[in-house]
Amino acid sequence: MEQREILSFLIGCCVMAFVVFQWPNMRRLPNVKLIMGSFAALFASWGFSVVEALFWETGFNFLQHLFSGIGGIFMALWCRAVFRNPKAPDSAP
């Protein structure tokens, strides 16, 4: 288990806690499901990178990279949804 993976997961946990506690405000973000999907996928990826050192390394490693890729896809979808019509002021973050 690498220290950097634990640290990034812990920071990710703090960010997730922030999102949960600020959900009434965060939910006003445009297309919030897509951006939250991206963050959740990356958060899961960071979690798997920690867990893989404990057991079932091959499987969790696979999942880590799978979710990392999913996070990238959701990020692209969110940017497409938000910036596709950039002149609409309320669609911007």
């Binding site: 950097r4 993976e5 640290l7 990034s8 920071i11 990710g12 703090c14 960010v15 922030f18 999102v19 600020q22 405000n25 965060m26 006003r28 973000l29 963050f39 990356l42 960071w46 490693n61 696979f62 880590q64 990279h65 799978l66 990392s68 890729g69 999913i70 996070g71 990238g72 896809i73 959701f74 990020m75 692209a76 979808l77 969110w78 940017c79 497409r80 938000v82 910036f83 596709r84 950039p86 002149k87 002021p89 911007a92 973050p93």
Partner: protein
Amino acid sequence: MSIESAFELVGFCGATTAVAYYLRGVRHTFPTNAGLALGILLCVSIVKYSINAIEWSGLFDTINLDYLEDYLDNIWPFTWFLFFFTSMMDTAARRLRHSEERYRQLVETNPDAVFCHRAGMIIIANPAAVELFGASSSEELIGRDFYSMVHADDVERLKSRREHIVQTRLSVPLTRAKFIQIDGRVIDVEVAGSLVAMDRGPMVQTVARDITARRKAEEALADSERRLSDIIEFLPDPTWVIDLDGRVVAWNKAIERMTGVKKKAILGKGGYAHAIPFYGEPRPTLIDLVLQRDRQWETNYLSFEEEDGLLLVGESFHPKMGEEGRFLSATAAKLYDAQGDVVGAVESVRDITAAKLAERDRERLIADLQGALAEVRTLSGLLPICAKCKNIRDDRGYWNQIESYITKHSKAEFSHSICPDCAKALYPDLHMQLK
């Protein structure tokens, strides 16, 4: 290429696509902090995905990216936090700006004078406020000390209201005050205050309405009411007034004297309380019937009539008033306001007991006299009488003895005797013996 590398490559493509869309719309969003934070997040994501893809592909094993990977692993979640935080703040600020714009639009179209001040300095003033203060434009008001335009008598009171608003964040109710216009003229206003959140901090919003004309009208109305009250108060006839709810609103001195009920005890009372001194129980009286006609109660009056469609006039006997009861004559009419709407009713009563008793005595006397007259038969006129035998001719032409005629036409009766002269002439012997 491993499957892990393929996933990372997919992530890299996604991040790159995201950057492409971001760059397309960034000029519209870059001025905001969230736009900048998103740019950093996307850049970090691309670098992170690319390092992971390179690392897991095994193609560039000679390149040592561990130092950069360590650094990015820690910075990546933090860039997410930065993005979320700035987005939240920007969204809140934008909502506040939109709210402020809507507020300004509302204020501009408000017919009442609305102005906002922070620490006493006017920040916003709508056209109605400009008109209220007699200014030429809102610029003439903005930047002025609001309390310099408040009459000295009201400055401290309005300042304490402002402190209350700021401390409690609650609005304060309407109150009256005097403002000083730009030209120095003093006007009467009604003001209310509340706190409004603005982009640059909260301000106190004051809504004011010029009530100078209304106050003069109220004073004139109060004078009029006072005069009317004085007139009613000193009317010689017992008089009282009720409103539409049946509550007594005026009760003059004369009715105090008649009923023994003081004004303080009856004013404001409803539920036919004004009937109790007259009838001993709450029930509709003429003043109530003028507002709402009721045939059943109207038949209880000795006499009841409507005059000119405006007045109700009735006479009634009140056995519970005084020792032997009283006869009262009452007149009631509706009261109207300036718009012609009914606002209440007034009733005036007059004690007619003495007149009624006198009338009753007179009628009794007349009846007695008529009875007596019926019994008295008198002789009058020209009687045709025989010059010799003294018989009298009646209306049918028959000759009657004078005794029977007089007996028939009067209450006189005859007791027959003989006078000395007739006795001497008719019975001389008997006359001589008696002599």
